[in-house]
Every structure is written in structure tokens, then in C-alpha cells.
Symmetry: C2
Subunit: 302 residues, 2 copies
């Protein structure tokens, strides 16, 4: 018998049986799964075992945040290569469990398989909010707003790849390797926003997904993108990239992008969100305010 | 909006959002995950795309069966190599969906990741039975009983590997490539058995897991193993292995092994189960009735 955290589901039976048995607080549950594959989602040269474990679970937590939910129970399915060092695996688990404790998640078990590489596939359950918010509810006239600031994760990754050090670098790297899911903001937005998504693949890309799912056009202005202080400090001088491009394309930010009704703009601003654009009739994404063509294909989104 | 099958959970929102939202019939839910990795769990030379998809889901269904539950919602997390043929992937999905339909499972979405090989990690939810049966409840004096017959899956795999054809071969191969989860038997046994497990890694191995989890000794007699007709027909003449060894070591059988109270022996026999041994005090597994030392390490279990 294993007990879950307070107010969470009680894990009646868990690790060691064919199934975990959980008792949830509601019959309406969220379910999400994310893969975290070595060489695709992370690289051991740049991300420590502990950070990899933390990041693997945050990807799932952020999906629960984008649904406005409360995370509950995780199942971990691992692929392990024969060459895997036990110390690395222990580090991965310790980072994952630290993240689970921090956000009230009970790890209920999972599966281990032999493989040619390391991969984790984490399934996370969550309590669903009363009103379910998805990607398809954005309406012409809504305002596009984001939590936090953007660009730090990509700036950190670029510094890691290029071996750049000092100054704002450690802040950017922390942003890349220790992301924070926006669970409280997600629950706050669930009753208000018309559409909600987390920024795992870059702001402009996610805006495109909302546009496609909602049948609308997103008009964004790069000058309005909230740029992370470290991204601002590093962009031009050390990374040779414009800060708006960093903010618009940086993945693994795990901030939230919401389409909120226009009369809720003040409400969103008061809660620290920044307006980055508007929802219009049409389709696709238009980004204005970029000064020059981008070397990374950022302008392809226009 | 996607509707689930009758009497199942309603899938309120599914594919295309960050999370699936499901409404279950009870707050007590089962959760299980299984990996299905190419080169580890299957080989494309011996298993068609459709059969691979079917088998991938059956591994999960069998876990729900061993918990005495009713399967509900699946999430599919795939790793796809760049060389993956679309036709193979379509075949995999069509086999998986055929299996989902057959057993009343709603596929609620999932995740796709780039990788160096094909792998699926399937999470399955299920309604939990009133009394939860696991691996740790077997008691000295119980009777060990199995559903169905064993050895067919391994016999089929051996025929596929060695290119043996004709006679009982097709029946053995069907047993290997189109296994059937024992969901009804699992629900029937949930209220009666002291311990329950599915035979995914071989009867003797699973008996060892029950013994370890329950702190008891399993005494089995190889002469009592119910041997699948095709395994019986192929064992000596064409596979050069004794039929008891096939039955005792064959994995991916997905039959159920139960420790039932002695006074329920007639009840189990009436329902088609076969007695294979007894639960005694002590630890480990003793298999009697084997005529000679086994070349495949079967006797290591003694």
C-alpha cells in the first residue's frame, strides 16, 4: 500500500503489480504522454542526468498546465541500452522524483525495456478543470497573451552548444535545463481563456497550431514579444541573433499562450501576462515588426 | 468531441489537444504502460505490421486482465525512424485499432517522436474491480491454476525463426502473432483468486514473481502443464524440445496464472482452468516431473 500526497489520489496499489490502481478526486481526468529520447530531446553533453529527469517530467506537467488541470499520477516507461551507467540512471530518477515532489505527482510505476538508446515515455494523469479549454476555441477579436518571458531556453542551448560562458549565460542555461511548468497560470486561465497551449516548440509555431485548430489568423508583433533578460543580454553580442527571433522560436519554454476575450485584457495584464498579438479572421500566422530576414527560417512563418 | 464506446468513459476532448480528457465510470482506475520495441519485442521478418499493432495493445490488455479490470482508454506514444515506411505504420495502426475495437478501448491520442528505431509505449486505463487482486496475496495451501493452454506462442516463434512450415505450424504462428487477452477470466478471478498474474514471460517465471511477491514457494508439476495442441504436435518431431518445456517457458501467452483458495478448485476447473501446482511455505519455484536437463536453461528455475 502506497499513499499519495495530500488531496491527491490515493495510490491503492502501485509498483510491482501489473497495473497501478489509483483513486482520483473526480471522474473527469486528464491524460497525457510525452517522449524524451536521447539525441532527439536532450543530449548528455549539455544536460546532466538530474536535469534530464526534471525536464522529462516538466514536458508532461506543462501539458496538464495547458489544460488547466492539477497533475496527479505518473507512469514511467523507460528504454535502456545495455551500456547505460547505473549512476546516470539514478541521477535521472532523482531529478524526475524531485520534480514529482515539487509538483505533487505520485509516481505509480511503469515499465523498463531493453533498447539501443535511452528514452523515457511518461504518462501523467491530472484532475480536469470544470470548463475544459483546448486549442480550438480562439475567436476573431481575442487578444493573444503569454505568461513569463521567452528566448531564454534557446539562448541557453546555444551557449551550451557553442561553449559560451560567463555573464548572463548561467541564467539562460538554467532556463534551458530547469524549466518550470505554469500550473497555477493554467488553472487561472482555464475559466477565462478561449484557447490555451504551452510553448514547447516556440511561440510562433504554437500560435500556428492555435490558428489551425481554431480556424482563425494570428497577427503578432515581434516588438511585443516579452524577451527573457538573459536572452536580451546575449542575443546580439554573443549569439549573433536578434532577440525577437530568440523569443519567437525558442522551444521548451513551457510558458502558456492564451487567446483571451478582449474584455479580459486588463485581467491578464494584471496577472503578469504580456499581450503579443490579436486573433483575426483568416488563417495562419502573420508576424510584424521583424527588422530583417532571419537566418533560421523564422520568417517562413509569415 | 469524440464519443467513447457504450458504457465506457466518454472521451470529452482527445486527439489534437495537449491532454485527452476522459470521464470514467468510477473514481478508482487502473493504469498500465507497456513498451513494444522493434528488435526486442518483435521482429518485422516474423511479424506483420498489423500483427505488431495487435500484439502491442494485447500486452496492455493482458495487464488489465491480470488486475481483473475492464479496459477503457489508450494513449499511444510512438518512436519513428526516418526510414519508416508509411504503409508499415498504417498497418500497425490498423492492427492496433482492430484490437481496440474488439476489446472496447477508445484511443485518445498520444505522441510521436523522431528516433533511430520503431517503438510504441502504450498506456491503458481500466475500470478497477471492487476487490483489487495483485501478486502478493498467494497463501500456503492455495492451488495454482492457469487459463487456456501454453507453449503455442513459443512454438510459433521457433517455426518462424527456423522457417518450418505445414501441419500445426499455422496454428502455432497464429498463437504467437494474434494473442488473446483473458479479460473475462480476469474479472471472474478478481473476486476469488488470492493472487493473479498474466503469462507474458513464461509460466515458471511468472510463478516465481508470485512466489517472491507473496513470500511463498510454488511447487509445480510439469506433467500437469496444459500444452497447446500445436505445441504438442510440433515439440519433439519438428522443434526437438520437450512439450513441457515449451509450456513452461513460452512467453507472450497472455493466459492468466492464479493462486486460488483450495476450496475453489472445483470452481476453477469448472471454468476451464487447469491446476498446475500448489502454493507451499518457503520461497522460489520447484518444478517436478521433468524427464531430463533442459538445453534452454528451464531447469535453472528449480
Amino acid at each position: 500500500m502506497v499513499s499519495g500526497q495530500k488531496a491527491g489520489p490515493v495510490l491503492v496499489k502501485g509498483i510491482g503489480d501489473d497495473c497501478a490502481t489509483i483513486i482520483s478526486r473526480s471522474k473527469r481526468q486528464l491524460l497525457t504522454v510525452d517522449a524524451f529520447v536521447e539525441g532527439v530531446h536532450f543530449n548528455r553533453r549539455w544536460t546532466s542526468a538530474r536535469d534530464a529527469g526534471w525536464k522529462a517530467l516538466v514536458a508532461n506537467l506543462s501539458d496538464i498546465a495547458a489544460a488547466g488541470g492539477r497533475p496527479r499520477v505518473a507512469l514511467i516507461s523507460l528504454e535502456l541500452p545495455p551500456s547505460m551507467e547505473i549512476s546516470w540512471l539514478k541521477g535521472f530518477y532523482s531529478g524526475l522524483l524531485a520534480c514529482a515532489r515539487r509538483y505533487g505527482v505520485a509516481v505509480a510505476g511503469g515499465n523498463i525495456s531493453r533498447s539501443t538508446h535511452f528514452a523515457s515515455h511518461i504518462t501523467l494523469t491530472g484532475d480536469a478543470p470544470k470548463s475544459i479549454v483546448g486549442r480550438s476555441g480562439a475567436r476573431s477579436g481575442d487578444v493573444l497573451a503569454v505568461t513569463g518571458s521567452l528566448g531564454g531556453s534557446l539562448a541557453g542551448l546555444m551557449c551550451l552548444k557553442k561553449g559560451i560562458k560567463g555573464g548572463a549565460v548561467s541564467s539562460a542555461i538554467a532556463r534551458h535545463n530547469r524549466p518550470v511548468p505554469r500550473l497555477k497560470d493554467g488553472r487561472m486561465l482555464a475559466g477565462v481563456a478561449h484557447a490555451l497551449i504551452d510553448i514547447s516548440d516556440g511561440l510562433v509555431h504554437e500560435a500556428g497550431l492555435l490558428a489551425d485548430a481554431s480556424g482563425v489568423r494570428m497577427v503578432m508583433d515581434a516588438g511585443m514579444f516579452p524577451v527573457h533578460p538573459a536572452a536580451k543580454a546575449l542575443a546580439k553580442t554573443r549569439l549573433r541573433i536578434c532577440q525577437e527571433e530568440l523569443a519567437g522560436t525558442s522551444g521548451e519554454e513551457y510558458e502558456l499562450l492564451a487567446a483571451v476575450p478582449r474584455n479580459k485584457t486588463a485581467w491578464a495584464l494584471k496577472r503578469g501576462m504580456k499581450v503579443v498579438g490579436l486573433v483575426a479572421k483568416g488563417k495562419g500566422v502573420l508576424v510584424t515588426g521583424l527588422r530583417k530576414k532571419s537566418p533560421t527560417g523564422f520568417n517562413h512563418f509569415r
